[in-house]
Every structure is written in structure tokens, then in C-alpha cells.
Symmetry: C2
């Protein structure tokens, strides 16, 4: 097996994680979490989204959070912008990067954003253009890349289509997301290979949910393809709106534990990361949803 010698992790906990909390988390807690993540060595953090507070009240404090962050040199702060209105609101917060998204399943696209995959990309085109004109990096995310709650299996052609359309409108980075966590190694590799037809390996990342316990094994399958960028969420924050009570994003702690054991450099201090996960878990009144964090916290407790 040949693996990359370095991996970059993007912690999406403050956004993808905390937007699944019923009770909105106060801006000060989010800001402290971002600080702790950057202190632990994360070099990119998905901070918030600029979406209507009517739909996502958990992110209504987006501008406040972005303004409150003590920016650390070398760290990128990204925000989700679902449309031009969101983008325009986001600009004042000076994100390093915006995230746009499309679904690999027509059924999901129709149910979630009321339009076809192709239409969703057309709508993003002016956002991408505006961002790039202002020197803001544009990351694209392909959701439900291996499975869809409405259509079931998603084949690689769905991913290939979205990757091609994203490339055409100028999206610079392509994230392939197993939003509902149903993927297994070969299927995830097939999805990645479809995206690789339009994006270079250095412009591709994986985003895995651990709903069925497969996130790490899918990460390893992608490491074998040479993919070295992954999203993860401290303390496994986040759930799955399509499977109640299920696990959300893969825990950053579990990924870092694995990579450290494989001698793949992440630049992240696992102990500080576990502290960050404990901080937010304590606030939320529950245990970190990370097996590595649980084992290490138990060990610390003696």
C-alpha cells in the first residue's frame, strides 16, 4: 500500500455539526470552538453558513461568529453559501473560501432544492463567478455521492455529472460527500474515480459520515487512491436528518488517531483536539461521538 505522507483535514463541526443541534449554540461557544480547533492544528475550518435563518436558525449568528474569530495565519475559514443572497451576506465576513453544493441524485436535488442537478449548477454559476472575481476560493460539495435517502444507490455517473458541471462553472475544489454514510470502500472509490475525471487529485476531497460505521474504512480506500484531503467533525458533531439517532460526520479524533498510527502527518495535536471535542461536548451535555476520544478520555480518567 502506498499512502500520501500528509493529510489535510477540514473540520466542519462548527457548521455541518452544529447546524443539526435543535437548540442553537451561542456564538461565543462557536467562536471558542473554532479557536480551540485552530490551536489544535486544524488549518481549515468550515465555520458557518449564510442561509436564511428561517430555514437554518442554528446559523443565524453567522456574521457575529465570523467577526468574533481571532484569525490565525495559515488557517482558512470557509462558509457555506447556498445562493447569491447568501454570498452577498457572506462577503462582508471575509471568508477565505465559500462552499457551494450539488446532489449526485436527481431525486435528492428535486426534493431538497426543488430543481434538477443541472439547474442547481446554473444557479450557482453567478455565485462562483462573483466569488472568484473577489479572489475567494470556491469549494464544491457533491452530496449523496454514493447513496440517496430517496433513490437508494447512486451510481458514479451522477458524481461525474456534478463534477463536470462544477468544473464548467469554475468551482476550484470538488468534495465528494457520502451524506448518509451508506458507502463502502469500493463504491466510494468508484465515486472518487468519477470525480477524478474532472478534478486533479490535489483538488479533490472526501467527506464521510459514520452512520453505518464505514467512514474510516472509506477514508482508507481513498488514501489508497492518493486523496489527501478530508472533511471531519470534532467529537463527531452532527447527525443525519435521514436516519434519526444515527451518527453524523466522522469524528476528527478517529481520523487523526488512525493517521497518526499510520505515520501520516496531519499537523494536528490529538490531545488538544480531544480537549476541543470535550469542550463542545460538555457544552452540549453529552459525550463525544468518537471512539478514539472516548477511549482516551477514559484512560485519562484512570
Amino acid at each position: 500500500m502506498k499512502f500520501p505522507s500528509k493529510v489535510k483535514l477540514v473540520d466542519v463541526g462548527p457548521r455541518d455539526g452544529l447546524q443539526n443541534e435543535k437548540e442553537p449554540v451561542p456564538a461565543a461557544v462557536k467562536i471558542e470552538l473554532v479557536h480551540r480547533l485552530q490551536d489544535a492544528g486544524l488549518t481549515e475550518i468550515e465555520v458557518t453558513s449564510f442561509v436564511s435563518p428561517k430555514w437554518v436558525p442554528q446559523m443565524a449568528d453567522n456574521a457575529e461568529v465570523m467577526a468574533g474569530i481571532r484569525r490565525k495565519p495559515g488557517v482558512r475559514y470557509s462558509v457555506l453559501t447556498p445562493n447569491m443572497k447568501g454570498f452577498e451576506a457572506a462577503v462582508a465576513s471575509k471568508p477565505d473560501e465559500i462552499v457551494v453544493f450539488g446532489a449526485a441524485s436527481e431525486a435528492f436535488s428535486q426534493r431538497n432544492i426543488n430543481c434538477s442537478i443541472a439547474e442547481s449548477m446554473e444557479r450557482f454559476a453567478p455565485v462562483v463567478q462573483a466569488a472568484r472575481a473577489q479572489g475567494i476560493f470556491v469549494r464544491g460539495a457533491i452530496s449523496v455521492a454514493v447513496g440517496c435517502p430517496y433513490q437508494g444507490e447512486v451510481d458514479p455517473q451522477g458524481v461525474e455529472l456534478v463534477a463536470r458541471l462544477m468544473k464548467e462553472i469554475g468551482v476550484q475544489h470538488c468534495g465528494v460527500a457520502d451524506t448518509i454514510g451508506v458507502g463502502t470502500p469500493r463504491k466510494v472509490q468508484a465515486a472518487m474515480e468519477a470525480a477524478l475525471r474532472h478534478y486533479a487529485i490535489d483538488d479533490l476531497s472526501g467527506h464521510f459520515h459514520d452512520t453505518y460505521g464505514q467512514a474510516l474504512v472509506n477514508t482508507m480506500a481513498c488514501l489508497e487512491l492518493g486523496i489527501w484531503q478530508y472533511d471531519s467533525s470534532v467529537a463527531g458533531l452532527g447527525g443525519c436528518p435521514y436516519a434519526k439517532g444515527a451518527t453524523g460526520n466522522v469524528a476528527t479524533e478517529d481520523v487523526v488517531y488512525m493517521l497518526r498510527g499510520m505515520e501520516i502527518d496531519t499537523g494536528i495535536d490529538l490531545d488538544k483536539l480531544i480537549d476541543a471535542g470535550k469542550y463542545i461536548s460538555d457544552y452540549l451535555g453529552r459525550k463525544p461521538n468518537s471512539r478514539a476520544a472516548t477511549a482516551i478520555l477514559n484512560k485519562r480518567a484512570g
Copy 2:
């Protein structure tokens, strides 16, 4: 990646799992669990251990459980026998297989069984001889094969030593166990490669605990070496006496979910397996410790 086309799973839940329960589980429940596992397609089940009830009261009903099982053709029933006294007690129960064990760490061997690794193997020699004379298959297990709660990291030489000694005394199969679940892919592969110096690939298996969330990724690392036999535990039964509150054996459901997705045949019906896991979890009054089972049960509940 080339993987085996078939995998054999040995469910160790009734033994390795249930021996960690504070309250002994009644024999009738254990028997029903074994029946459900074999109905789900498991072809080998580690049923119980023949060890002093003073040390392991949870397995005091060993003979009753073995006598109560409705044996299914093609299924092997194994029991743990730590010494000659245990073996002699086990024989009347007609196990297809006995399991003996040694530690890959001297510190663990001394602390757990008060003798060196070499001495522990000498003690097992007459048990192995007696079993083979009666046509009972002998499986060996190498515990703490990558990490030890007393000594920390365990290097592959420890595994190589135990494998060699096991081979010398006539142990027919070698299981490599990450007892405390600290292993990561490369380390687990190194341990397996050490065992492969003395055992053929068809006589080797992996036994992974999910304490740090690494069990599936370690399984995949071994699949890549061609290893096609693994232990697992329905509903993730079992804990870790060295890390309180931590996860135990990898859940059979999570392994089967992964292998099914990779089109690797196990002969196991995932839905029936989940029912078996729900049966014992309901008895124990908790949820299955399996992410795949949790997600599928949530989905069933709508």
C-alpha cells in the same frame, strides 16, 4: 486492490462478549443467541469457556449451554480452554474446536497468567496434544498483538515468537488479536506478517476490538493481505477491561455491512443478524453497539 472473494466470520459474542457482563446471562438466553446466530448464517460460534467459575462466573453454565444447543450441520462450536482441567471438562460437551491463547507481551503474560510467554505455551502443550489425539481442532489466539495495557506498543517480534511457539506445540490455527483496540492498519499488517512466517494464510485470522474505532479499517488492511477469517461479536458485545466504558469487539453487523458492500461473500443474512443482535441487546437492556445495526434499526422504525 485485490480482496478475498469470501470471508468467514467467527462470532465470539456468546463467549468474549457475554463474559464481560456483570450479571451472568442465563443459559437459555445464550442458547437462543447461538441459535439465532447460526440461523443468520454464522458457520462458527465461540460458545463459552471452560474456566474456573471462581474467576469467570459468567461462564459457569458452560456445559449446560453446550448441551442445550441444537447443532446445525456445517456449523462449528468452539470453546475456550485455559488449561488441562478446563479441557477435560470441555471434552464431554463435544466442542468442534478448542481455543488456547498466549500474549505477545511479556508484561501482559506475567500480569495475567503469572508466567512468561514461553512457559504459557509449555503449559498448553499437553492440552493441544490431548485435543488433537481426540480429533478436536485447536485454534490459538495471540492477545495484545499490537498494544498492551502494561507495556504500551508491542512489536511484531512478540507476535512472531508466540506464533512460532504455537506452531511448535501443534496449534492448527493462529488468531491475531488486538485485544485493547489500539492498532492501526500498518501496525496490524506488520503483526499479521509476523504470524505469516509460521502460519499459512488459510490458517490465520484477525480479531479486532473497536475501542479506538479502528476495527474495520484494520480488517480492510488484513483483507488486502489476503486474510479471509475474522472474529467479531454480534451487537458489539463485550467491553474492554483495560478501558472502562470503551467499546469491545467489532460488531459483526458492521463487518457484514462492509463486506456486503464490497461484494465479498460471508453467507450471512444481515437482517437476521441484526435481529439476533437486537434479541441479546433487548435482554441486556441496551442498544446494540453497532453503527450499522443502529442505522438499520432506526430505518426500520421509520
